[in-house]
Symmetry: none
Subunit: 221 residues, 4 copies
DNA sequence: CATGAATGAGCTTTCATTCAT
DNA sequence: CATGAATGAAAGCTCATTCAT
């Protein structure tokens, strides 16, 4: 993979039919890229597969995203953006910290489950040492909100005297993320090893209950 | 990838120079494969890279392992074997369940840290839907011991009246694994997001403390 | 060999340098393929040999023909097309059926001799069980004209009361084809066995005379 | 393919169990080679395929036949030997030349049909310009008998005043061979073109009748 | 007689990418 | 905005063959 600087950013004009069509092409490609990269990884997914899945042509990928790496960065960013958007829509009952915490845990676990590409793309990025995120200023902006919600709930609980004071929100966030992420990310090897299909709804439900319970137990005084 | 039957099984060790050399070749390739697949994934790592890293030739990979997939399966199996061997060497003080639990947690977290290829190979396998493990009868045998240790500790604690009775060893095992795995697997994206280098020894130490504490807290009455 | 759909059909000829160049590339490859496949067979001829003989690159073969099989099909089709074109140019004196028949026989024998690739390509195709022709709708269209000419001459002769009525045009066609084809196709082993070089013009001349005579004798009342 | 001189001929001792076993290995390989070369041609058939089909090992092919070319020559020779042996078993009624001729024609046509490898191997050899037969002194010896029979029948017929005198036995032989060979060799492409399955017994029967009739017609005064 | 190990060149095919229009 | 043509490198894999015992 080359280290060249990526393609020029798309201009922002919004009038006219052609720009609309262009946006659609770009969006189709981006959507296809997320799908293909999620399914086959950065190395396993090919430009050709993506352009075909987008009903477009190889050349258009270079036009809009510069090169494969640029497309991957865009796919990552979009994936984070979607997660943040979903999180922002979360309405928490801050008067009841334990309930709010449960809501957060459930949101994260279910988001991972419903959006497996989130997990797979992150795995790809970590396989490559996080070098794309390091380059993307946009992606890093997306980080704060995620912990922010956990931080907020934790602060509430402490303020109301229900939660421990010696807990860092970073640890709490990582704990929740880990318990949700691992289940989703490793479900195939785990299923083989445990002799139990982790994709069965009942199994997931049971795990969710365990995680909610464990996180609450971790947090209370 | 072809469906041909892989290379013939390695014969029992005999004396004689050639047999020794052959074993070394096979072992060199396997060691190199683990390294390369761990670094670049199944798709990212190439036969050529591996054979060169093994000081051997492409052709020998096909001779010993049939094809790339066969080599990957062998790499997976060897990785599991090593983990089990390490775990088997673990001496637990079963008279003190909480201490034993701490030992288990530390063992797992530190194993993941010291053997990052374990994590990366598993991620690759999960990206491919676990299809290689499904085929490998050998790999599945390696599963039981891992949970076994957790199970044993849990049983001890319950017997001695120190641990909760309503905890499944599967959930407990997955919790420990998740907290160790996630930290290692996602350390690059996490470092970028948290603005904190998870590879710093102090950060790891702190996380380990948190995990040990949390797991103990989960388990006690 | 893959089952992917081959390359896009060649667009109508436009003016402009690149389109011209592209057509030439495609044609060069096709011409080279016929030559190489004829000389070494489908298995013996390599993509590399062909692309080099065409002053082009491996990659372009896949661009225009999808894969090796697609190229072979195209080569077969082109070979048939040429034969049909040559046959269509044949002017027969239908007022004299015996003369016309002689013309047909001579045309076929001489075409096989002058275009040995016709024979070799067909042999390759038959070695592979005719599976490429079975797929090619284009190739099958080329069949009728060939027998058509024989049929026409036979009908003439019957009408004029010179030829037998109990002869099927299919048998007559196959007879002529066989006598011409075998001489060309097996000339090397025959030369070795008969101790006589079948490539010598005089030998061919003698055989042609024999065949013309025999066919005429077969057909007359 | 290399141009090295082939392997040393197998020694001729016949006593002892080991020699017997060895002969079997050699024979198995030869039989497998005929089968595989006939099915896939000289280039299409691989040493590996053959050794597997013979339940033996690559190395043994080199032991007995020197190299791939040597094996092909042996396969060719064996194929000719079989044909000659079959022909030698032919009992002709020389008192009735026309009947004898019919017997010869039927023998050849049916032999080609029943032993398709004869045809395919010869095609392979001709594709390679007959260079293997040229080298094989054994193979050339096999040629004479084949024409010999036709010659004999022709002479009988002439002697008895039933056949034309101006016919060369070579032309007659080639005619019969051509009519039988072409049908078998090109049956796949012909079937596609004629829209008629030449492998159907009835179709073959009809062709045989036509050929017998035509050859007799060619030969009589 | 037989075999496991090794080899290097070659195979078909796909990769990401750039060119000219 | 978009597209057909072109490219060189590299991919996974198979080839015929030889070595040492």
């Amino acid at each position: 993979m080359s280290t060249r600087t990526p393609a020029p950013a798309k201009p922002l004009r919004k009038t006219g039919v052609r720009e609309r069509a262009a946006e659609t092409t770009r969006e189709n490609i981006l959507r296809a890229a997320i799908k293909i990269f999620a399914k086959h990884g950065l190395d396993g997914g090919s430009i050709d597969q993506i352009s075909k899945a987008a009903n477009s042509h190889d050349r258009m990928i270079y036009y809009y995203f510069g090169n494969k790496e640029g497309l991957f960065v865009a796919a990552l960013e979009e994936t984070y953006r979607r997660f943040n958007a979903a999180e922002a829509a979360l309405k928490l009952d801050t008067t009841q910290p334990l309930v709010a915490l449960k809501q957060v845990v459930q949101f994260i676990l279910r988001y991972y489950k419903k959006n497996p590409e989130f997990v797979t793309l992150l795995n790809s990025e970590n396989l490559h040492g996080g070098k794309h995120i390091a380059k993307s200023s946009k992606a890093r902006e997306y980080s704060s909100p995620a912990i922010g919600v956990v931080d907020q709930v934790l602060a509430c609980g402490i303020e109301q005297g229900v939660f421990r004071k010696d807990l860092s929100s970073r640890d709490l966030y990582m704990m929740i993320a880990a318990l949700g992420y691992f289940y989703q990310s490793n479900r195939f090897t785990l299923s083989a090893f445990l002799g139990e299909n982790l994709e069965a709804p009942a199994t997931f439900k049971q795990w969710e209950t365990f995680v909610v319970d464990t996180v609450q137990r971790t947090v209370v005084l």
